[in-house]
């Protein structure tokens, strides 16, 4: 497809600017001509060109509304349209963040209630909604851990991270000046307790644990792990990316987690937007409340207002108060589901994952054969060894069957990993059809590997040369 620049023609525009209704000033004199730019090299297209361009681009994109999107660890559940309509109400979209609190009592009530509901669901003492995404929430959480020890006068340098963890965990720790030590997984996919014993010293600030972990497995030894961390004065950090697995079943606060970050765009159904906006609230136990980012919401004389008067706070991690409009969507979702709906969502998500696991087990290697939570992780090792068909080939072939592929090559501890997260919003018919496609691909891999390695054949472009893209990066178009 042509680029917007390639369909540009001088003299066109898709929207106009009203004539000034105030007396004009001489711009060159007012601003000073040396401060003015000479050129403005922007596309020039009419509205119909623009609409067709982007509409055609949208047709080259796959979203949950088009089909099954079992991208593991990303919780691609259906995004109810009601939430979009609620968030589009002018009362929510039209307020300036610095409008006096008298203008914004509705927004402030919503934020306060959202914090309260998240505390109830996750068993934490307080939440901040300021971080803009999961990784941003992690960063905020690790900063609070840093501040906690700074306040106690302890210099702890290390953060422990399981080998199965998301890459954002070590990256967030490093961005706060911590050293990362990798914690091994045991044979059943949980924390290797002996290894933890050797790593856990009084130099360790925290263990960042995803539970259930990225294998989709619940940490059976969670009580012991928490006790080992707390026993040496450390803190237990929870990566809440997989929170869809336990709503209404268990609360991280009760399990001993001191900090947890969520991804509202995963667990609470806000659309992923092609890679954002997300929202990454962080919950803390009582011991860490003072370190939450400012501003925090306070109530005075029955009215809500923002306050920065928290001297031990880590400060701000973002301007204003977070991705507010995303929070409105998550709030809408939460209110429509209620406690029963959330619990049912979790139960059905876990049922769906186990169903897929059982149906595909005869065809793909299952490295950890036990009950899983909201996702299951297979390995394409058998296909790779038998016929040279790799996980990437299986993924591309799934595209030809009309599915978004699962997460692949993650977690890193599973070779040729295929991580499938169906979510609760998919029907049995969808799961069956997907499993049939996977089984057909396993069969084709045996009988006609070239047919799998050729995929995809139904997409506007074939497999793309990523090596070329990285060797000769072209990230901004130039007229040739």
């Amino acid at each position: 497809m042509e680029l917007i620049f390639e369909i540009s023609k001088p003299g066109r525009a898709a929207t106009d600017v009203p004539a000034s209704d105030v007396p004009a000033v001489n711009i060159e004199e007012t601003i000073g001509s040396s401060y003015l730019r000479d050129d403005l090299d922007m596309p020039e297209v009419t509205e119909i060109d623009l609409v067709r361009h982007y509409t055609n681009l949208s047709r080259r994109n796959f979203g949950v509304d088009l089909g099954f999107y079992p991208l593991g660890s990303c919780t691609m559940k259906y995004n109810p349209k009601l939430n979009e309509n609620a968030a589009a109400l002018p009362g929510f979209t039209g307020l300036h963040p610095y409008a006096d609190a008298e203008f914004s009592q509705g927004n402030l009530q919503l934020i306060a209630e959202m914090q309260q509901y998240l505390c109830a669901i996750f068993g934490m003492a307080a939440f901040t909604l300021q971080p803009a995404a999961g990784a941003h929430g992690e960063l905020t959480g690790v900063m609070m851990i840093k501040k906690y020890f700074e306040k106690k006068g302890e210099k702890r340098r290390i953060i422990l991270i399981p080998d199965a963890a998301h890459g954002t965990n070590p990256a967030s720790s490093a961005l706060c000046g911590f050293e990362v030590r990798e914690l091994k997984s045991n044979a059943e996919g949980g924390v290797d307790i002996e290894h933890l014993q050797t790593l856990m010293t009084e130099d360790v600030a925290a263990l960042m644990l995803t539970n259930p972990n990225t294998l989709g497995l619940f940490e059976r030894n969670i009580e012991k792990v928490a006790a080992m961390i707390h026993g040496k004065g450390g803190l237990l950090y929870g990566d809440g990316a997989n929170a869809n697995a336990f709503l209404g079943k268990v609360r991280p606060g009760d399990l001993g987690f001191d900090v947890i970050q969520l991804n509202l765009h995963k667990t609470f159904s806000t659309p992923h937007g092609g890679g954002g906006p997300g929202s990454g609230p962080v919950g803390v136990s009582k011991a860490l409340v003072d370190f939450l980012p400012v501003p925090r919401l306070v109530q005075a004389q029955g009215k809500y207002q923002w306050s920065e008067d928290f001297p031990d706070s880590i400060g701000r991690v973002r301007a204003f108060y977070g991705n507010f409009n995303v929070i409105v969507k998550a709030y809408t979702y939460l209110r429509s589901l209620g406690a029963e709906g959330l619990k049912r969502a979790t139960e059905m998500a876990v049922l769906n994952a186990n169903y897929i696991k059982e149906k595909l087990k005869p065809y793909f290697e299952l490295p950890y054969d036990r009950v899983c939570m909201h996702e299951c992780v297979f390995s394409g090792k058998r296909q790779a060894a038998e016929s040279g068909v790799h996980t990437t080939d299986i993924a591309k072939k799934l595209i030809d069957y009309g599915y978004h592929p699962p997460t692949i090559y993650f977690p890193l501890i599973v070779p040729e990993a295929i991580m499938i997260e169906p979510t609760e919003t998919e029907s049995k018919e969808t799961l069956d059809a997907f499993c049939e496609a996977m089984i057909a691909i396993a069969k084709e891999a045996k009988e006609n590997p070239a047919g799998v390695k050729n995929a995809p054949l139904t997409t506007p472009v074939g497999r793309l040369d990523e090596v070329l893209a990285a060797r000769k990066p072209d990230v901004c178009w130039k007229k040739s």
Partner: protein, 441 residues
């Protein structure tokens, strides 16, 4: 209302395949003592209609202002109809990060075009696919400068947005870097002598905004020269993105990074978010910058296509050695920004001119009020600072008429007592301005 499609018969069949009698058996790994025995303490579930009416009630507790005279990092602009229609296409907004390029060409190409438009606007060679917001974009640029230079000090102008400076301090504290603030002159610009005095071989970066928080256009070129003479890098921000339609961009004046808030481009004011952080850089830093990058390449038939590229910078590959921890960005907001910029095209300059006319007229009318005076002398874009006899009272009067008044600078600058930072965009009419002048009389 929940969104689970299973009938009881479906569930029965699925349980049989799994070999369980009760779904509860799937939760056996959770230690019994921690299992929740009662329902979560939440309000009861609601039907779709009930939920919508609840949301309308909450939204109705807000008071929608008649007029907004505050900018200060979030700007009220007209959004052409096409923007919402395109960003509202479910093919875009129900997708995630384009890991599978063959079925993500739409968002990938749209972001590649966005990167190109941002690079051109900022006078830079490259731009990334977006950061969380303007403040975090600036903070991440600062951290990058420190890492590249092995220096630990940041020199930031006090004329930079106060919340951006707070975010900068948070990120720098976490990394063990120091932040020194540079005073402003009576013109409203960064004090160059103070900069010269502070700059030594410890300075990793100089951070400035133009237009700055006071609306004032900074003199970027001499700041860049001073910074570079001492081996420091220049991170230049901006406030209202529409100013780039008319002002010489920092990229063409010697900045190493241009960062800022992109909300002005087609994103509603949304009580502060979601917005998008613009991050543009010199090409030589391409392999070090944070955030996603979309690159052009070809498929096996030589056909052009787009992929996420230079991912070896990123956390999912490099883990603790990554250039940043960023994963999800603000892709949909960046898409909206791209559509907005493509819709305006060269008209962005006309829009910027209109903003200047409106701001100058508002300023002129307010200066006619008794006791109102200009605070800074340097040229401004669409924001300006005035001192008045009683800023609280003035804002109170405006609030009573449903108007969000000026931003009280005393909150962040104790020395700027009774001063208000006003903003006038194309959304303010002459009649509005006359009304404001009358209310404040």
């Amino acid at each position: 209302m929940d969104y689970c499609p299973h009938t009881s018969d479906d569930i029965r069949q699925m349980k049989a395949v799994i070999g369980i009698r009760d779904v509860e058996e799937l939760f056996a790994d959770i230690p019994e003592k921690f299992k929740l025995k009662k329902m979560l303490d939440l309000p009861p579930a609601l039907s779709e209609q009930q939920t919508f009416s609840l949301m309308r009630t909450i939204a109705g507790k807000n008071r929608l202002p008649e007029m907004i005279l505050t900018g200060a990092g979030a700007y009220h602009h007209y959004i052409p109809a096409v923007v919402g229609h395109i960003a509202g296409r479910a093919e875009f907004y129900t997708a995630y990060t384009p890991y599978q390029a063959e079925i993500s060409q739409g968002i990938l190409q749209a972001i590649y075009e966005y990167q190109t438009m941002i690079a051109r606007l900022t006078g830079m060679e490259i731009a990334n696919a977006s950061m969380y917001d303007g403040a975090s974009a600036m903070a991440e640029a600062a951290v990058l400068c420190a890492k590249m230079s092995n220096r630990t000090q940041m020199l930031v102008a006090r004329s930079v947005h106060p919340e951006y400076r707070q975010v900068l301090r948070t990120y720098c504290w976490a990394n063990g870097y120091t932040v020194v603030e540079l005073p402003y002159e009576p013109t409203g610009r960064m004090d160059l002598h103070a900069l010269e005095k502070q700059l030594d071989d410890q300075a990793a970066a100089v951070l400035v905004q133009s237009p700055n928080f006071f609306g004032v256009i900074e003199d970027i070129a001499p700041i860049a020269d001073l910074a570079h003479q001492k081996g420091a890098l220049l991170v230049a921000g901006f406030t209202d993105g529409t100013s780039l339609g008319i002002l010489k961009p920092a990229g063409s004046l010697g900045a190493d990074f241009v960062v800022g808030e992109g909300q002005s481009f087609g994103n509603p004011i949304n009580y502060g978010g979601p917005y998008l952080g613009i991050f543009a850089a010199r090409e030589k830093y391409m392999r070090r910058i944070p955030g996603r990058l979309v690159g052009a390449t070809v498929d096996k038939n030589g056909q052009r296509g787009f992929v996420l590229t230079l991912q070896t910078r990123e956390q999912h590959i490099r883990r603790e050695k990554a250039t940043s921890n960023i994963c999800s960005n603000e892709a949909l907001c960046a898409l909206a920004a791209g559509v907005y910029l493509a819709a305006l095209g060269k008209n962005l300059r006309k829009l910027a001119e209109l903003n200047i006319h409106k701001a100058q007229f508002l300023k002129k009318q307010l200066l006619e009020l008794s006791g109102w005076k200009e605070v800074f002398s340097a040229p401004v874009y669409n924001e300006f600072v005035l001192r008045c006899p009683d800023s609280k009272k003035a804002n109170e009067k405006l609030k009573n008429e449903g108007i969000v008044g000026g931003y009280e600078l005393q909150r962040d600058y104790p020395e700027l007592e009774n001063t208000l930072l006003f903003c006038a965009t194309e959304m303010i009419s002459k009649a509005d301005i006359d009304k404001v002048a009358k209310i404040l009389q």
